[in-house]
C-alpha cells in the first residue's frame, strides 16, 4: 500500500486553516516514517541467509534477553520470541514459501541492525517495526510519539457502549453523542481519535490535539491511512488552547494525558524511559498536573450533558479525581465513576457535565 500523501497533507493543512489562530505560525512538519510492513518488498534475500539471521536473532534473545524481567520488569524471552516472529512477518518473510529466494522489505543489513537495536538497546518493538496493533487498527508510530497502550483500548469500549445505549434509548437529545463533536486531547499517534471517529455517525467529528508536532504529523498520517481526514481535524497546541472556537460545543472529551510522577521517570522500564518521549509520560509532581488542568478547564468547552473519560495512573489518581469532581468543583459533574482496566487496576474516570 502506498503512502497516501494527498490525504495526509490535506489533514495537516487543516491545522493551519485560518480558524486556528492559536497555532504557532511556522510548524516544522516532519515526514512520518513508513511502517515496515508497508515498505515494498524489493530486497531479494536467499532463504538460507534468513534462516541464519533467525538463528542469530534467537541466540541474541537467549544471551541478552533473559534478565529483562528482573532488571526493570521488561519483556521475557517468550515475548521476545513472539516479537521475532512478528518482526519477520512484517519484514515480508513468509515461512510457507518454499522458494529459495524471499523478498524482504528491508535489506539483510538493516534486518540485523534493527534486531540488535531491539535487544541490545531495548528499542521498543513497535518503533522497530514502525507500527502498533491497537484494537482493530494498525497505527504508525515512531520515536517522539507514545506507543498506544492496550489499557487505553478500554476507553473506546466505554465510548462505543455509550453510543449504543444512546441509540437504544432514543430520548429527546436523540443521538447527540453519535453525531456530535468529540475531542481527544494529547492524541499522540491518533489512536483514540481514530477509533472514536469510526464509532461515530455521519455527522460526528473529532478534533485531536497535541503539543508535539511529531505526534501531530504521525496522527495525521494515521488518519489518512484510515481515510478519516474529513472527520478528524488535527490541531497543534497545549490542551484547551486550540479549542477556542468550539467553546460549549463538545459532546465528548477523552484524554490519556501524561500521568507518571516526575520522580518515577528514571526508574521506568528501558523501552519506555530511554525511548518514549518524556512529554508524553511526565505528569509533573504526583503525576496529576495535566489531569487536574484538564478537569478544571473542561467545563469551558463542554456542551451540557457532555461526556468525559480520562485515563489515570491507577487507584490513587482515580480516587483523587473522583473526589475532586464530586467535591471541589461541585455542581459541574454528574455520574462520575471509576472504571477498571482488564488487569483490575482502577484506570479510568468517566462522567458527564451538568
Amino acid at each position: 500500500m502506498a503512502f497516501p500523501y494527498n490525504s495526509f497533507s490535506r489533514t495537516i493543512r487543516s491545522i493551519m486553516s485560518p480558524r486556528n489562530l492559536s497555532q504557532p505560525s511556522s510548524i516544522h512538519l516532519n515526514q512520518p516514517q513508513t511502517p515496515l510492513f508497508l515498505k515494498s518488498p524489493i530486497h531479494q534475500t536467499p532463504l538460507s541467509s534468513l534462516t541464519q539471521f533467525q538463528t542469530w536473532a534467537k541466540t541474541l534473545i537467549q544471551s541478552k534477553g533473559s534478565n529483562f524481567p528482573t532488571i526493570d520488569n521488561g519483556p521475557d524471552t517468550n515475548h521476545l520470541f513472539r516479537e521475532l516472529k512478528w518482526f519477520l512477518e512484517d519484514a515480508g518473510f513468509n515461512r510457507d514459501d518454499d522458494e529459495d529466494i524471499v523478498r524482504l522489505r528491508v535489506g539483510l543489513d538493516e534486518l540485523y541492525l534493527l534486531w540488535k537495536q531491539r535487544i541490545v538497546e531495548r528499542r521498543p518493538f513497535q518503533y522497530v517495526v514502525g507500527c502498533e496493533h491497537w484494537r482493530d487498527l494498525v497505527l504508525s508510530v515512531e520515536e517522539g510519539v507514545l506507543i498506544p497502550r492496550p489499557e487505553t483500548e478500554v476507553i473506546v469500549d466505554i465510548v462505543e457502549e455509550l453510543i449504543k445505549k444512546e441509540e437504544e434509548e432514543e430520548d429527546e437529545n436523540e443521538v447527540m453523542m453519535k453525531e456530535g463533536l468529540w475531542v481527544d486531547l494529547g492524541t499522540g499517534s491518533g489512536a483514540l481519535a481514530i477509533a472514536i471517529a469510526r464509532a461515530l455517525g455521519k455527522g460526528g467529528r473529532v478534533i485531536a490535539t497535541d503539543l508535539s508536532p511529531v505526534a501531530a504529523s504521525v496522527a495525521g498520517y494515521n488518519v489518512g491511512r484510515y481515510g478519516l481526514q474529513d472527520k478528524i481535524e488535527i490541531r497543534i497546541g497545549s490542551w484547551f488552547k486550540p479549542l477556542e472556537d468550539v467553546k460549549r460545543e463538545v459532546v465528548g472529551l477523552v484524554s490519556n494525558p501524561p500521568y507518571i510522577p516526575s520522580d518515577q521517570i528514571l526508574g521506568l522500564q528501558a523501552e519506555v524511559g530511554k525511548h518514549e518521549p518524556r512529554l508524553a509520560l511526565d505528569g509533573g509532581e504526583n503525576g496529576m498536573v495535566d489531569l487536574l488542568h484538564l478537569c478544571e478547564g473542561a467545563a469551558s468547552v463542554m456542551k451540557s450533558g457532555g461526556f468525559f473519560a480520562f485515563e489515570t495512573n491507577g487507584e490513587m489518581q482515580s480516587k483523587f479525581l473522583l473526589d475532586f469532581t464530586m467535591n471541589k468543583s461541585k455542581g459541574c459533574f454528574r455520574d462520575v465513576k471509576i472504571v477498571s482496566d482488564h488487569s483490575g487496576i482502577q484506570r479510568f474516570v468517566t462522567g458527564f457535565f451538568v
Binding site: 519483556p75 515475548h79 496493533h133 492496550p150 487505553t152 490519556n256 522500564q269 484506570r347
Partner: protein, 509 residues
C-alpha cells in the same frame, strides 16, 4: 396423453444426456421404443414420476431448455406432430407436492429391476477396468445402499415429511427465526434426498438404455452407456465419503485444542508434536489455520494450544480426533535414554455458522482479564503481550488468547472460542446425551485413549477404536491423518445402533 408423455420422456432424456454427443440418437431410440410401448409407460409409476420430477429444473435451466427446444422442433419435424405440447404448463409446484411419494416411490427399470434386487443378486464386483455392466451396477447399488444407511434414510424421510408439514403452516413465519431454521433444514435434507434419488434413477436409466442399445445393436450407444456407468461408479465412492459428513455441524469450521498430560517436558513436547500434526493436516487439506492460544513449556513443547481450522467439513473430519493420544519413545529429554510413555489430549469444537442457533452471551456474565507481569501498567509499561482471558461466570468456561497483536483482537478471538464452547455445551444439553464429541478438554478422561504412536522399540501408529494401523509414524506426524479419520468415521457411521449414542448425529427427531 400418450403423446405428451412421450415428449416428456424425450425432453427428459435430452436434458439428462445433454453432454452426450449421441443425445439425439438416444432420444430417437427412446422415442421409437416409447411409442411402441407407450401403454406400458403410462402405467409405469416410475416413468411418470421421472417425467414430472424434473420440470422445475427444466424451466429454470436455460441450457437444458435450449437443448430441449431444439430437440422438440426436431421431434415435431420427424414425427409430423404439430400440436403444442402442454408440457410447459405443468404446475411447477407439482414437484414439491409429490415429494413424499418421491421418497417412498421405488425406482425401477422398465423390466422391474430395483437397487435392492440388484444388490440381492450378488453379482460379482470385478475390477473397474474389466467390469461388465452388472459389475458396475452392483457396485453402484451397494454404494447407494451404504449412502442411504449413512444418511439414515428412513428417518430422513420422516423428518422431511414433518418439516414440510411445518412449512405449510400458515403461521410459520410469525416466528422468523424458527421458520428460518425449519426451511434451512428442509432445504438441506431435501438436497440430500434429491441427490441420492437422482443418482439412483440415473443408474436405472442407464441400465434401461444399455438393454435398449443391445436390442438395437447400437455399439456406439452401448459404449457410451458403459462409460457413463463407469463414471457413476467412481463418483459413487465420493458420495459415500460425503455421506459420512452429513451431521448438522460437520460442515463447520472448528477449534482444535491440545493439552499435554502429566510428565513435564516430555509430554509437553508430545503435545507440540500433535499440534504440529494437526496444523500440517489442516494445511494439507487447504484449510486456514490460525493459532489462537499457545502456552509454551519452560524447556520445550507446549502446555496447551488452540488452533482455529477454517474450511468446509473441518469439524466433520477433526471430530474423529477427539480423545487421548499416547506416545511411546526414547525420550530426547532423558539423559538415561529410557523409554517413556506420554499422553496428550485433543478436543474439537465446531464453530457454528448459523448465527441463530448460537447461544446468546450476556456481557454481564463475563469477566475479562488481562495477563500481566505486575507493576502499574499503563504508560509505565511497554509490552507486546496483550493476552486476554475470558471467564463465563455462570458456566465457569474460560477461553484464552494471546497470539494476536492487539488486546482487542485477542479478546475477539477468545470470545469466539468461548462462544463455540458454550454452543457445544448447549448442543450437548439439547441432545440430553453426554455425547462423546462434546467433551471439553477438562472432561476428557485420560483413560479415553484413542490412538498409540510407537517410535520405539518398533514403529507403528495404531487406532485403538478401529485397529487401523500404519507402520510409518513420521508420515502420520507430518499430517497424513486421513486414513485414520476416514476409517473411524466409516466405522462409526456404518454401525447403525451406535448413531444414537452421539448427540451430533441426532437430528432432533
Amino acid at each position: 396423453m400418450g403423446v405428451n408423455l412421450v415428449i416428456f420422456i424425450f425432453f427428459y432424456s435430452c436434458e439428462r444426456a445433454r453432454i452426450h454427443f449421441s443425445c439425439l440418437k438416444m432420444g430417437s431410440f427412446l422415442l421409437r421404443k416409447s411409442c411402441l410401448r407407450s401403454s406400458v409407460l403410462i402405467q409405469n409409476p416410475r416413468t411418470s414420476f421421472l417425467l414430472f420430477s424434473h420440470l422445475p429444473e427444466f424451466h429454470s435451466n436455460l441450457d437444458s431448455t435450449v437443448v430441449a427446444r431444439g430437440a422438440y422442433n426436431w421431434f415435431l419435424n420427424v414425427s409430423g406432430f404439430s400440436s403444442k405440447p402442454q408440457v410447459m404448463k405443468t404446475p411447477v409446484g407439482f414437484n414439491i407436492r409429490c415429494f413424499s411419494s418421491q421418497a417412498i416411490m421405488e425406482h425401477k427399470t422398465c423390466d422391474g429391476l430395483t437397487i435392492e434386487n440388484i444388490v440381492s443378486y450378488q453379482w460379482p464386483i470385478l475390477d473397474e477396468s474389466e467390469g461388465d455392466w452388472k459389475s458396475h451396477a452392483a457396485a453402484i447399488s451397494q454404494s447407494i445402499q451404504l449412502i442411504k444407511k449413512r444418511l439414515q434414510w428412513k428417518q430422513l424421510v420422516v423428518r422431511l415429511q414433518m418439516l414440510s408439514l411445518e412449512l405449510s403452516k400458515p403461521d410459520l413465519w410469525d416466528d422468523p427465526v424458527h421458520a428460518g431454521k425449519i426451511s434451512r433444514e428442509h432445504g438441506s435434507l431435501m438436497g440430500k434426498m434429491k441427490e441420492v434419488n437422482g443418482f439412483e434413477r440415473e443408474l436405472l436409466e442407464h441400465i434401461d438404455m444399455l438393454k435398449l442399445a443391445r436390442e438395437e445393436n447400437d455399439a456406439e450407444l452401448e459404449s457410451e452407456t458403459m462409460k457413463a456407468l463407469l463414471s457413476m461408479r467412481r463418483s459413487a465412492k465420493e458420495k459415500e465419503l460425503k455421506a459420512l459428513l452429513a451431521g448438522e455441524q460437520d460442515s463447520c469450521s472448528c477449534f482444535i485444542e491440545v493439552q499435554g498430560g502429566a510428565g513435564g517436558t516430555e509430554s509437553m513436547d508430545w503435545a507440540s508434536m500433535i499440534m504440529n500434526m494437526y496444523k500440517m493436516w489442516a494445511q494439507g487439506r487447504g484449510y486456514g489455520v490460525t493459532v489462537v492460544d499457545e502456552v509454551r513449556g519452560e524447556i520445550a513443547g507446549i502446555k496447551r494450544a488452540t488452533i482455529k481450522v477454517e474450511g468446509e467439513n473441518a469439524f466433520g473430519y477433526a471430530k474423529a480426533e477427539v480423545g487421548v493420544h499416547r506416545l511411546v519413545r526414547i525420550s530426547p529429554f532423558d539423559s538415561g535414554k529410557r523409554r517413556h510413555t506420554s499422553f496428550a489430549a485433543v478436543a474439537v469444537t465446531p464453530i457454528l455458522s448459523d448465527a441463530s442457533s448460537r447461544c446468546q452471551i450476556n456481557e454481564s456474565d463475563l469477566s475479562i482479564e488481562r495477563f500481566r507481569s505486575g507493576g502499574p501498567g499503563g504508560q509505565h509499561a511497554n509490552t507486546t503481550d496483550s493476552a486476554v482471558r475470558i471467564v463465563h461466570i455462570p458456566t465457569g468456561l474460560t477461553a484464552t488468547c494471546q497470539n494476536q497483536r492487539s488486546q482487542h483482537q485477542n479478546k475477539a478471538l477468545a470470545m469466539s472460542v468461548l462462544q463455540s464452547r458454550l454452543d457445544q455445551l448447549e448442543i450437548a444439553r439439547q441432545a440430553q446425551i453426554n455425547a462423546q464429541h462434546t467433551h471439553s478438554l477438562t472432561e476428557i478422561s485420560w483413560g479415553n485413549q484413542i490412538r498409540t504412536y510407537v517410535l520405539h522399540p518398533y514403529r507403528m501408529v495404531k487406532d485403538l477404536r478401529t485397529n487401523y494401523e500404519v507402520p510409518d509414524p513420521n508420515s502420520v506426524l507430518d499430517g497424513d491423518l486421513d486414513g485414520f479419520i476416514l476409517s473411524y468415521l466409516s466405522a462409526l457411521m456404518d454401525k447403525d445402533e451406535i448413531l444414537y449414542e452421539f448427540g451430533f448425529y441426532d437430528r432432533k427427531r
